[in-house]
Amino acid sequence: MTVIHQPETAEANVETMDWMAAQIKMPYTLTPGQATGIFLAELAGRRLIGSRHGDELIVPAQDFSGTTGEPATGFVEVAPVGTVQAFTTGATGTIGIILIDGSTVPFVHQLLGVEPEMLELGARVEAVWADEPTGGMLDLAGFAPLGSAATFEPKDDPADLAAAFEKVDYTMTLDYRHAYGPYYGTLFDGVKDGRRIRGVKCSACRRTLLPPRALCDICLAPTAEWVDVEAVGTVQASSVVHIEFIGQRLTPPYVYAEIVLDGTSTRLIHMVGDVDPDVAQTAAAPGARVRAVWSDRHTGSLADIDHFELLPGDET
């Protein structure tokens, strides 16, 4: 994976404007470590591997004992047979705590093909293997009532242990509905409907804050007085973006800019567009004057401004 994934930001909830959907979705390659890596790798061959830590035999194998912190001193093949120590049934099925025969530390997994009403503590179960291994814990699909599987004593130092998995692919997807609240709500209602940008004035220091908020960050005094701000300002800081990543709105090169709109005392983060790449370093430098170019989108977000354009004239 070499591309850079930009977190996806969904469009605002345009209808009600009381929350904005946002999603953070990123791929990972996670390293399980030696013992767990071996355990996971061995599932494809339908073997269960545990780890010894002093008197403990932990299944699934782990690098360290949670009880003592002792590292694994050896690996053991154990029978795919165990005993249910606890179980619970919910919307996604039944999961249980299972102690594999011969091991000393139980673990949690799914119980398959069981009728929860008939299941009892102490029930004997056997491993259910995934039809097609995919390289993770669910290659061991779960446990079902004991059928034909045979139990056996743990076998130390099993032959031909698979090499530990070095990476397990994982995608984390986190969805949010961020509240606009009274201040962003008023700001972005104005942006969406009237192309108005409004900040608030601190009742103590009288500076105009954008984005608006209830209290001044420095004075901790209430704000409350709304002020219309013209979408014209000065670049406080800028850089020329050359790298490409997924989700990018403009094609590089373009200018990342932190802009202080006239009359305000805080930064608006945006882009300066329509800049000749050859002169971007100097044309959109700190001090340059810029003006918002509105897009035809009405999403009630900063993206309603397509970009800022350079204003001719002197730097401030």
Binding site: M26, Q34, Y180, Y256, T266, P286
Partner: protein
């Protein structure tokens, strides 16, 4: 106040050998490696540790929420106090400060601070982009790189922190890293190489950027006589502070970092520093991009405002100069973000106790440490010395 405040010392340090990708250990196993080395260094075991502070970068870097809950097993820390302090790139120093306060406040005698990140496992720039307010700028984020480059650009104009000056930082630190057995980027470069390297977010170019690393660092803290009972040569912490500024504070210009200046003033007062350039023998500064080291020279008072380019060009901050900065190679040698700040502190402790090996500054007895994170709005400073204060 009744009685004198305790003096806290670093009595053991440990680091992994940092790498672009460690496929042999999990996040938890990585942290453990540093802890084992620190315990060995101090001649202690986990039984001797009262409390553990885990410091790591944002949880989204590694896809594990509150990862200290998982690390407990690898650290053998069951039934001990374990808590995580997180503060972006400065988190290791923020963790050490929490540990110092536990000892000073009487809730622990010996504290283990362990910091790590395993950045190879996630998508770094995408993760960092989630720093941005979802309503205010996230859709324009380029990690923290676009932002960092933008304010460097402003400092180029205002303070003369030229591309060449920053390149000298990169050249110097990469050269230093050659002598550090823990560093993983070991390649000498020239100013011309940096200048010719591909722009990512100009003025930041490829060679202004540190590596992406897997790594961990651990430090053991103790006080007064207890510290001396553990080691003959504790590294005494003369001062440590970690200040912030509000991201959206009015008039925030970031030409100089105000929280850095506040933290430095506090720590210098505690440590009796009045002329930092003369009084320090060595400094370890966290430079997530080359340009930041220039900014910190000024914020820490090592030179006057606008003097950073001249200072780096003078060679005085290189090994052999009067104040070597980042003899370890700094972030340019390895940058496991969550561990980086604690590495700076550990390296400083190694320097003042004469344990820095091939990158030892001869006779160093007082060291300056700086770290920070977030939106350049979290900034910490520490001073460590061979003499108890």
């Amino acid at each position: 106040m009744s009685g004198r405040s305790k003096s806290i010392a670093i009595v053991g340090t440990g680091q992994t050998v940092h790498a672009r990708r460690r496929t042999d250990v999990s996040q938890a196993g990585l942290a453990r490696e540093a802890v084992v080395e620190a315990l060995d260094d101090a001649g202690l075991t986990m039984d001797d540790i009262d409390s553990v502070i885990v410091a790591s970068g944002p949880a989204m870097f590694g896809a594990v929420n509150q990862p200290e809950k998982w690390l407990v097993d690898a650290l053998g820390a069951r039934y001990k106090p374990v808590v995580r302090v997180t503060s972006g790139g400065g988190t290791g120093l923020a963790g050490a400060l929490a540990g110092m306060n536990q000892i000073k406040g009487g809730s622990a005698k010996r504290v283990l601070v362990v910091a790590y990140d395993k950045l190879s496992e996630g998508q770094l720039q995408a993760s960092i982009s989630t720093l941005y307010d979802p309503f205010w700028g996230r859709e324009f984020a380029v990690g923290i790189m676009g932002f960092s480059a933008a304010y460097w650009h402003a400092r180029i104009k205002r303070l003369g922190h030229t591309e060449e000056a920053a390149a000298m930082v990169g050249v110097k630190n990469r050269k230093h890293a050659l002598a550090n057995p823990k560093a993983h980027v070991k390649k000498e470069i020239t100013v011309e190489d940096v200048m010719a390297s591909r722009p990512l977010c100009w003025p930041i170019k490829v060679l202004d950027v540190p590596p992406i690393s897997d790594g961990a660092c651990a430090v053991i803290l103790a006080a007064d006589e207890d510290a001396l009972s553990i080691t003959e040569s504790p590294a005494w912490i003369h001062g440590m502070a970690y200040y912030c500024e509000a991201d959206n504070a009015a008039d925030r210009q970031m030409i100089q970092s105000e929280p850095l200046q506040i933290a430095a003033a506090k720590v210098y007062q505690d440590a009796g520093i009045t002329n930092p350039f003369r009084q320090f023998d060595v400094a370890e500064l966290q430079e997530p991009y080359t340009c930041f080291e220039l900014s910190y020279y000024e914020g820490l008072g090592l030179c006057p405002e606008g003097g950073a380019a001249e200072l780096v060009a003078s060679g005085e901050t290189a090994m052999g100069g009067s104040l070597p900065v980042n003899p370890s190679g700094g972030c340019m040698g390895a940058n496991p973000i969550g561990a980086t700040a604690l590495i700076r502190l550990a390296e400083a402790a190694m320097q003042v106790t004469g344990k820095a090996g091939g990158h030892q500054v001869p006779g160093a007895s007082r060291a300056l440490v700086q770290a920070g994170g977030g939106w350049a709005n979290l900034r910490g400073v520490a001073v460590v010395g061979s003499e108890k204060r």
